[in-house]
Symmetry: C2
Subunit: 185 residues, 2 copies
DNA sequence: TGGGCCATGTAACCAGTTACATGATTGC
DNA sequence: GCAATCATGTAACTGGTTACATGGCCCA
């Protein structure tokens, strides 16, 4: 059950559900996805459990905001989660499952097309991540080892995302070579 | 919605729910997890939709088996899934989320411990995958490029798992070095 | 006046987990 | 006689998705 804990991590300063969604879509996108419609009830539940507090504030644009701020108990709960050790989610990788059954195609052409599509897509996400890191490099002279703790750990997750994506790209490329060699026979 | 399609892929020959679960736990474990209690209703649904057929057979050990076999329509549905292009599931990586908040710890010691635990665990899964690949090498002289199509694509998914796990190991190791360097200051 | 962004939410649904229930066969 | 493995399932619940609803503000 990670989402509530992530929200406790993000509400160290007062933040609205809408703002949190933007954070998921930018800074956390390479390791967590959440729907806005999922955040609102989750935040409400944190308040009910005494792990966060709400305050309603007028917004500059649009309707009132509700700013959520974790309580001391909320921070405790977050620390508890961190000290349970590395968490896991059951593996579910749809495109690897598809690769597993690619032999069902009559010809290798379609398998090759599949892998080429996959390669294009992974290269795209890799570039997105790279762009974020590059932006960081420009802003910050001491990048990456002089970063403050906040940014240091954020950069660690970015680095993980980049390395994994690069590994997938190499895998796609050598797989394509192998497939093409088989197709010629 | 991948699980039904995976089951259609696995029921090219008559197979029981119990046997399918074993397949998930051995051959598919590096890219998909499913509970047994999830498989039974899913198989039933495939039959209802005309994508598979059941036949009850006495078992050598224990109670009767129900052998599921995909129909022609079932195979069509599988091919349709494959030709929709690479699928994705929304990203959810609990331990990366935890790394993101590791700055909440007062000292770096706990962060270092977290990464060490993670490294140990990832090394373990990597060894499991390596053992499978090694077993394959022994059995098969022409490994990996002379494999038949079935085994070739299975090996591709294994290769993906190994590469990604190795990327994570390298990430853990360099992250630990960087963390330790910061802790000394 | 119409689209995009700001901002909140609910309800129905689907996928997956956990807990429980049943019972045969095999080997110690 | 008991534990492990073989074999099938159901029910309650949780986590997440999709679709829908509301309405203000800003800019072209």
């Amino acid at each position: 059950m990670s989402l509530p804990h992530i929200l406790l991590g993000l509400t160290a300063t007062p933040t609205s559900g809408y703002e949190l969604k933007q954070k998921f879509d930018t800074t956390l996108r390479h390791f967590w996805f959440a729907e806005l419609s999922q955040l609102y009830p989750a935040l409400k539940k944190l308040v009910k459990e005494g792990l966060a507090e709400v305050e309603t504030m007028p917004s500059e644009k649009g309707p009132d905001k509700k700013l959520y701020l974790r309580t001391a108990a909320g921070r405790e709960e977050l620390l508890k989660w961190l000290s349970t050790g590395p968490g896991t989610a059951p593996l579910r990788h749809p495109y690897l499952a598809q690769v597993f059954f690619l032999n069902e195609h009559q010809s290798h052409e379609q398998a090759i097309k599949f892998m080429e599509d996959l390669l294009t897509r992974i290269k795209g996400t890799c570039q997105t991540l790279q762009a974020i890191e590059d932006g960081w490099k420009d802003e910050d002279g001491g990048y990456p080892n002089q970063l403050n703790d906040d940014d240091f750990f954020t950069q660690l997750t970015l680095d993980a995302g980049l390395r994994v994506n690069k590994a997938y790209i190499e895998w796609c490329e050598t797989s394509l070579e192998r497939l093409k060699a088989r197709a010629e026979k």
